[in-house]
Amino acid sequence: MIKIKNFLGNISLPLFVSLVFLFLYLPLVILIVFSFNDAPFPAPWTGFSLKWYHELMDSPEIWRSFYTSVVVGVSATFLSIMMTLSLIYYNLMGGKLKKLLLLFYGNILVPEIVLAVSLLCFLTFLSIPLGFLTLIISHTILCSGYVLPIVYGRFLSIDKSVIEASLDLGATMSNTFFKIVVPLLKPSLFAAGLLAFIISFDDFVLSFFCAGSDAQTLSLFIYSMIRSGVSPIVNALSTILLIFSSLLVMVFCYLNIKTKIF
């Protein structure tokens, strides 16, 4: 009796967890499987086909959205990283920053919808046309909220005596920044950059409000497709994006193990 009770006790947690993971992935698996379905509907399987992928590749709208998402993501990431590095450089050169850094921490605390709405109203007021530019502006604000704590935090944990050693051996502070500090920050810059890009790429709320009618990110495209109903093209797109994300996560985990970013 006790043996059975122990067995049940031991197995209940792993069972539960496995069920949850199954629950997490089943819809995605179904999605992926049916992206290869010949029929255009969640109807029974009629045959293996790649035609939805062909349609995907041929759709100019999808490519345009993808292009927009990538450019906005790269720009926002680049700008966030530059801003963080400028703050670090300033601190090294003797600037006083401690309290002022808190000013940047609100970016992730404020609900995204509030930020999006505020930016929309403000940018409209300034008569800045909604589109690429406004997307980049809004995404940079969002991304810097993630990049700054990660990279600056890493900077603070650099052993100060390494910087002193560099100066001691004759380097100026500027030299030290480029030859010592930045190389030491490379792993966290990479991780934070990756994170920032993903957040921008997958972002919906900010893009929804700040893209206007001219620009469309991939998220917005998917949103409009969902609104108009199920389509296997979205299945195909989802499959590709899932593979893409898996690769990114694997790279990130690999880096994390190698260089202990977090």
Binding site: D159, E164, A165, S166, D168, L169, G170, I180
Partner: protein
């Protein structure tokens, strides 16, 4: 000329005065040790010399050059950090070559110098290894090479042996002595370990808990002729007896309450401690090193001073045996006896009554 001259330097941290109007001359081309307990300000002084901290008052000179306001990277002084501070993202070669690469020295000269340096410490096989592949001792050597390869005027060493194990420490100490003799660079070595300081230095300064310099001198001067009870007790172990300083014709005595008079020598420069009339004056202290005391159960002649006691503790140290002997007035004296023979003629045991003999020349009258 690579002397370091510290003139009336004051340094305050968070309202606390760490160094107060301190002056010190460190001679050129010598191995100089700065010895003191934790919190004595010795590391602060080192950092002031290196430029990592700014003086609040006073001046620092390197030779004839006033370096007080010179930034770190413009002083021709390099530091070996306590935790080595090697650049984690550069390999051994690039770490050592760093200072040379900043000065835009041609590549082949850099390669030549770095490889030569590595060969001198038998590490040429490690030249392209990354830092995390090195052991503690190897890292310490690389840190040392990095600091000397561009031939600075002064080398600062901040407790460089702190992270190494005992056997390694002894070896490295010898290597440092040889290195300094070869380079003739001024070495300033900061440590709290008096054994290290005595071993390596040509000259040393002792700092006390208040950031003041107690005494400056060669290791032998410091050890054999300490100026104060602090120095006598910090460097090595000693016995200190307090009593009134008396003069009787041409001889001097310290009268210890409960024990009697012990003859001492008062050199010329200490005559100020004796009053003219020779009557009883203030309490003075005298220091006798444990190894200068002869311990025996038999009454012996030929010594200026003797005292009787009972053996309380015996500790065997291999090379020597330490006896703690309790005297009449409940003071305990420490005695070191060298274990010269396998089978000593006299065996001293617990609770034995013994006689402690010493010569008046081996006692030091302490100034404070």
């Amino acid at each position: 000329m690579s002397t370091i001259r510290i003139e009336n330097v004051t340094k305050i941290f968070n309202g606390e005065v760490v160094l107060d109007n301190l002056s010190l001359n460190i001679p050129s081309g010598k191995f100089f040790a700065l010895l003191g307990p934790s919190g004595s300000g010795k590391t602060t002084l080192l950092r002031l010399i290196g430029g990592f901290e700014k003086v609040d008052k006073g001046k620092i000179y390197l030779g004839d050059q006033d370096i007080t306001d010179l930034p770190i990277n413009q002083r021709n002084i390099n530091t070996v950090f306590q935790n080595y501070a090697l650049f984690p993202h550069l390999n051994v070669f690039d770490n050592i070559a760093y200072s040379l690469s900043l000065k835009k020295v041609p590549k082949d000269i850099i390669e030549d110098k770095v490889l030569k340096a590595l060969k001198a410490v038998n590490l040429e096989a490690f030249v392209y290894r990354t830092i995390d592949q090195l052991s503690g001792g190897q890292q310490q050597r690389v840190a040392l090479l990095r600091a000397i390869v561009d031939e600075p005027d002064v080398l600062l060493l901040d407790e460089p042996l702190a992270a190494l194990d005992f056997k390694l420490r002894e070896r490295v100490l010898i290597e440092l002595i040889e290195l300094q003799e070869k380079l003739k660079t001024t070495f300033i070595y900061v440590t709290h370990d008096q054994f290290e300081a005595l071993t390596v230095s040509d000259q040393m300064a002792i700092m006390n808990h208040n950031g003041e310099i107690e005494q400056i001198g060669t290791p032998k001067e410091i050890y054999e002729f300490p100026v104060s009870s602090f120095v006598a007790q910090f460097v090595g172990t000693t016995n200190i007896l307090h009593g009134a300083l008396l003069k009787d014709q041409d001889s001097y005595y310290i009268d210890v309450h409960g024990l009697g008079k012990f003859e001492i020598q008062v050199p010329e420069h200490k005559k100020w401690m004796v009053s003219e009339s020779g009557t009883k004056i203030d309490t003075r202290a005298m220091s006798i090193r444990p190894e200068k005391i002869f311990i025996t159960k038999n009454v012996t002649a030929g010594f200026s001073n003797v005292v009787e006691g009972i053996v309380q503790t015996i500790v065997y140290h291999g090379r020597s045996t330490q006896y703690n002997v309790r005297l009449k007035n409940d003071i305990t004296l420490q005695v070191f006896e060298q274990n010269e023979e396998h089978f000593p003629q006299e065996v001293i045991d617990y609770d034995n009554t013994v006689y402690l003999y010493w010569q008046k020349d081996n006692v030091v009258l302490l100034e404070r």
